[in-house]
């Protein structure tokens, strides 16, 4: 019987800590059929904008829809690649420059599947999840982030 997966919460309040990432990696030590993990981390950049220097990004989301979309993306990626595990975490609220706002983690027996799936996941998350980043500028201005 096929394992039934349900929508998981992907949202984390504020920045994603390196300790959370370490814990997530450690949790996979018992899965001894895994040969490779691929991880992507998005980090907030101190970009210089017309309005000034970015000091943080404030994330909001249409949470219900984002979780539903994330679930559909998960299912599609699991169907396409022979993965053992897949995890997606995205920040909500304020994430300061230098902090982690996105954590995508795929694992598989052989490295190729994990790497390709991770890359595709990141692209789809950026394109398809209803999440918005508002760039907080150091002089108290702000600007809406634009994905390219």
């Amino acid at each position: 019987m096929k394992k039934q997966r349900t929508a998981k919460n992907i949202f984390v309040n504020g920045a994603i800590s390196p300790e959370k990432i370490a814990q997530s990696i450690a949790n996979h030590a018992s899965k001894t059929d895994i040969g490779g993990h691929s991880i992507f981390l998005g980090q907030v950049r101190a970009d210089m904008k017309e309005e000034g220097m970015v000091k943080a990004i404030e994330y909001t989301a249409y949470e219900d829809m984002a979780l539903q979309q994330a679930f559909e993306i998960r299912e599609a990626i699991f169907a396409k690649y022979p993965l053992t595990c897949m995890h997606i975490y995205h920040s909500l609220g304020e994430v300061k420059v230098g902090e982690i706002c996105l954590f995508v983690f795929t694992s598989s027996k052989h490295r190729k599947a994990a790497m390709e799936a991770c890359e595709e996941l990141v692209e789809r998350i950026k394109k398809e999840l209803p999440i918005w980043g508002k760039e907080i500028i150091d002089n108290e201005n702000s600007a809406w982030k634009v994905n390219t």
Binding site: Y62, D64, M65, K126, W132, K145, N147
Partner: protein, 75 residues
């Protein structure tokens, strides 16, 4: 009907939730919004109906959640 607004659109309409009359489809809703909030005419946004993206003229059933979504910028 209840309309959720996100990101820059919530800023323009001054609210995260709008309560408006029922509109039968997304084009009529769009016309109403442009009339009420002229700044929206210069903005790219998608209308989600029941948490699904729509394009062109899409039917809006009664009692479903409608949302105004500016371009996504997660990650």
């Amino acid at each position: 009907m209840k309309i959720l607004a996100f990101g820059k659109i919530a800023e323009i309409v001054g609210n995260e939730v709008l309560i408006v009359d029922n509109f039968p489809n997304t084009e009529i809703l769009r016309g109403y919004l442009y009339h009420q909030y002229p700044a929206l005419e210069h903005m790219k946004f998608t209308i989600a109906v029941d948490k699904k993206l729509t394009s062109g003229e899409s039917h809006i059933p009664m009692d479903v959640e409608v949302a105004l979504l500016p371009p996504f910028s997660g990650g």
